[in-house]
Amino acid sequence: MSLYEQAVALAPVDRLVWASQWRQQAISALQSVSLPSARDEDWKYTTLRSLERAQLVTAPRQASNDAVSLPASFAGRTLVFVDGHYDTSLSDSSAIDDLDVTALSAIESDPQFDNWLGKLPEGNAESLATLNTAMMTDGVLVRVGATVADPIAVVFLSNGSTERALPSSFVRNIIQAESGAGVSIVEFHASATAGKSLSHSWTQLNVEKGATVELSRMYAHGEAAQLVTRLDAELAASSTLRLHNLDVGGKLTRHDINVELKGEGANLLIGGAYVADGRSHIDQHHRVDHRVPNCTSNDVFRGVVAGKGRAVFNAKAIVHPGADGTEAHQNNANLMLSRDSEVDTKPELQIHADDVKCSHGATIGQLDETAMFYLRTRAIAEADARALLTEGFCTEALQTITDESTRVWFTQALATKLRGQST
């Protein structure tokens, strides 16, 4: 079935009435696009071929409390979505000052929605985003007007299936930090039950003047789950976005992160770690547009590949004409632990201004022999030394999470994954 036929069959016409005009537009746009292929430069290393034959179905929308496995130490309030639908019984919907957190399904209408939903990217490379607009069932709207101390967690659970048809869910999240506001948000994506599933999530983020947003996302799906995400962020003057990604699960993961630095003095940090083991394939595609002077961006990712795992990394920084005073840096380092694994990395700079400081680096290699020796002379057994160094190598990219309970949660999840992973 083509994407268009899937959308016609499954689009949730009954929900989000206010979205119907965009939904219709997206469905008709799907008539002229297909899934991205290796001919699209951004999809050179990742194929969605299996989706071509898949028959998408809706998922059961049920999960137990146990599936929401947040650590006790995590301080924040939690909203839970199961198979793309808000679950009130699993969520904590108590009110917080200066903070408006709502499921989209609970909103009658909003004058701002046109801005968000009207954004429809074109072309095959973006066809899943179009599919999202056609299929999305729910998501979260976060609007914050001042500095909020405690973090918020939004949990997305997917049920898996061993049947032929592929349970799918599509969510859309909107985060708006108003002028001067500050907030820390966690997106936690995981499987509620084992088996294959397709989850698509699209987060749109607007960081207004002087605001600071910390968005930390963890993907810990089961080994048969497929996941495609997209994030679009716009940063106004003197604003800050700290975005972290941790990938410790899934069979196929693809992240597209697009950030526009639109106001002078904006700061962007994208940091993250991934562990691609078993048969997992994890693809990071980042694009940062420096459109105005004096912005900074840093993109730092660490990865471990083991088993038959494969990691793909492409980070693009584009400095547009006139964006003087830009600082843009990218760094991707990978540890390759097994014979059947693969890493394909491509940091990328496109620079059209001269007063810039830009750099990137990429490495693929093994643990440093000298460091291993050093640890072993300090009585640490070889396997422990290996684990310690691997953990240290990856954890570095998560140390920039400023909310402590989030950082502890993420680093522990990473450590657990690394200790359980076979080489």
Binding site: D368, E369, T370, A371, F373, Y374, L375, R376, T377, R378, A379, I380, A381, E382, D384, A385, L388, L389, E391, G392, F393, C394, T395, E396, Q399
Partner: protein
Amino acid sequence: MSNALLKVKNLHARADGKDILKGLDIEVQPGEVHAIMGPNGSGKSTFGNVIAGRESFEVTEGQIEYLGKDLLELSTEERACEGIFLAFQYPVEIPGVNNTYFLKTALNSIRRYRGEPELDSMEFLKLVKRKLSVLHLKDDLLKRAVNEGFSGGEKKRNEIFQMAVLEPKLAILDETDSGLDIDSLKAVADGVNRLRSEDRAIVVVTHYQRLLEYIVPDRVHVLADGKIVRSGGKELALQLEEQGYGWVQSA
């Protein structure tokens, strides 16, 4: 002499296809401080690396007996658990690995090996703070990653601090004086001297006599072309300083 801590006989070792040690002999008793001096390329650093068990150095001939055991049978970490400590010439930076966590893991491995109970975080912190104050180090050292962003002096002091925590029986200080200004040198020597004891031997490997003014050795050995060519008391070091290595090599 049968209760020697370390007995090295006719040690030959190679690395990168090159023979470096070519018949080295040395015996170290508990409580002694030895100095091994020698020109660049004489095999000084190889000695420390071989004793500590670095795999890229291959022992081709000879024996190393430590506490009556065949050291060559033991892995690097087993040697560390048996009380061998190598203070590195270039301490390794390990980004992302916290110093405290690193040291606690090390100490508890050694305690486990000896059948002693592991220390919990509180006990460990107490121990570490005590050692820090003895060595006049700031506890902000504990919060940082292992050696990352440390100055040359801080790295060397951190090595001595680790030695203080792990309490080895045999410590080999590999060119610990290299790259240190006089204040750092004194601080490091002071730390080492505090760790001198009846049952701990220390082998100072160095190019210069300077460090030996502060860590006074019982025995001095001159290493040239992979062999000990001369041994003597501390005055040998002064003689070397005055006359240079050419004197022993030609002798």
